[in-house]
Symmetry: C2
Subunit: 347 residues, 2 copies
């Protein structure tokens, strides 16, 4: 299994995207976010996605030079057509629009559609931090990628519709989470299947609606379903996100005839200073975090962390030790690079 | 156990609040929301609260004639000081401000502090429906009512911080949920304790951090904790809500020295027409609901419902059959009414 330092890996990713005509700034941003996902421990959203993005481009479903366009707007709202650009570029543009409007009037809501895979949502909510704003993001799969049943059901009807939030802090690590509304992300079930391991009970129901530990049941015909996080509560959140990202943001919603997986994105950005001086906000969040950390741990726990801290710890480690890329993923990336005439770094 | 029709019960509640000088419109609204909670099956938020509200008033902690005041505002934002009014009146005022601003600029965020118990959050999010808006509400307990540990911990640090959402539909029942971010609301544990029943495993950890089925462990010294819904995901949401309602909305946040339980309320209202014609929105939500309901049920399920439907079904039943009030609650309400010289209807 090759191990690469993050810089040559990021350079490789950037050159691959440059080779298919993504403009320099966009290619660098895409590469940065993919490698950042690896650095932060979310390998499912890291460089493993490069072959997928190139495949999408080869099918003509991603336009490397697309420029997102605002198709409708008001003082605090906008609807952005991503023109089938790469999601990292489209979602960044959406956040820029949202932050501009929040700066002007205090809060904004932006919907984004016609976007390819945006990757980790935390990359966009965290854009708000340096502007003393906080952000909420809700994303669906455009009505495709159905994996969750409505509560009480046994056939997939909704995607794993994730929700992300980030807010600034003072000395404490920024608070940032990015969570699927299912018990487990689909990628985790896929890893169990590929490793021929059992899943814990409580992740998946088979097509008959019976609890199962066999990951193959999710991919059978007819398929199983991943359970919502927190039972009916995860179903409530997933349905809300389907409405916000799929209908309000025009991303497309679940039906019998889903199209290709695309991301509908619904963003809310709040300018903190409209409510409380940002310095006071940061001090109070720090004080809250301090108090949380006085909590004694359960037996076997590593202690109390805030959302975003596990990622920071992993990033510090991997910046030193490098990023492991499993053989099959590395082989696919090498193939892509070779096909595009991009030089491959030595692991 | 007395059974009352909802109209005499609502009249009784209204007259009790009138007797402590709540203005007529406010008293009628408070009575309507408490009885609506009973009608919709949430007895924990129904007339059982009347003795609590009167006790709060007797202690001088609720001002029946308080008028909420906007202390800070912008085009899309406002901060409302509830002046220790009853929560139903304060939160309604907050929503009126939020809807006015959302009508003007498309989206708004309003924070409310110095509010007594607001009751069911769904009552406020659902105010948005008739104006073709959608609403999100996040509420904390002002830093008090600590019941949940941070993930990995075993001592209470956060309240059960609930989240609510509602959006309009066409022919389908409105989508509306109002969920604690813990596995179970504290009231459910209390009911188990009072009935001397065991809880399911997975609700509560004792003070040592061990799973327990004994509801008394939650109330022991030192106390146990209610687990977050969906494990670390519920912790993420509860912390977000503590920041939004407790710090941004100035409601007060968790520390070692909590004050009395009050509600910080953070509201987001979106004017749907800024993104999609409301008629199209309603038709698409109906189509999504139709598709969800094609899902075959798991064995033993009553079929697929959308959030808010269970409440509608219960309300239709209880409007016909009346509302059961347990003896102890009825005795307390009779005491309150007698003390204030209010006529008591015959159950």
């Amino acid at each position: 299994m090759p191990t690469l330092q993050y810089e040559p890996l990021e350079n490789l990713a950037r050159e691959i995207f440059r080779a298919i005509q993504v403009p320099p700034h966009g290619a660098a941003w895409m590469a940065k976010l993919l490698v950042r996902a690896n650095l932060r421990g979310h390998d499912s959203h890291g460089v493993i996605r490069i072959p997928q993005y190139i495949a999408t481009w080869k099918k003509g479903e991603a336009n490397p030079t697309a420029e997102p366009v605002i198709v409708q707007e008001g003082p605090a709202t906008a609807l952005v057509d991503g023109k089938l650009g790469f999601g990292q570029i489209v979602a960044r543009r959406g956040m820029e629009v949202a932050m501009g409007k929040a700066a002007a009037v205090g809060v904004s809501t932006v919907g984004v559609f016609n976007s390819n895979h945006v990757g980790r949502l935390a990359d966009y909510t965290e854009m708000a931090l340096e502007r003393d704003m906080l952000a909420l993001l809700a994303v669906n799969a455009g009505g495709a990628g159905q994996r969750m049943a409505p509560w009480g059901g046994r056939a997939p009807r909704l995607s794993t519709n994730p929700l992300a939030f980030a807010c600034p802090t003072g000395d404490a690590a920024p608070i940032s989470f990015d969570i699927a509304t299912t018990v487990a992300a689909e990628g985790k079930v896929r890893v169990k299947r590929n490793r021929k391991e059992k899943m814990p009970l409580g992740w998946v129901l088979d097509a008959e609606g019976k609890p199962t530990t066999d990951p193959n049941d999710l991919y059978a015909t007819p398929p199983g379903t991943i359970l919502p996080a927190g039972g009916h509560k995860g179903y409530c959140l997933a349905l809300m996100i389907e409405v916000l990202a799929g209908i309000v943001a025009r991303g497309g919603y679940s039906t019998e005839h889903p199209g290709p997986i695309r991301n509908g994105v619904f963003m809310i950005v709040v300018d903190i200073g409209r409510f409380i001086p940002p310095g006071t906000f940061r001090a109070e969040v720090d004080d809250l975090v301090r108090y949380l950390k006085t909590c004694p741990p359960v037996p076997g726990s590593d202690g109390i962390l805030t959302p975003g801290e596990p990622e920071m710890i992993t990033e510090a480690e991997r910046r030193r030790s490098g990023i492991f890329v499993e053989d099959e993923t590395w082989r696919q990336i090498e193939d892509v690079a070779r096909g595009l005439g991009v030089a491959i770094p030595t692991p």
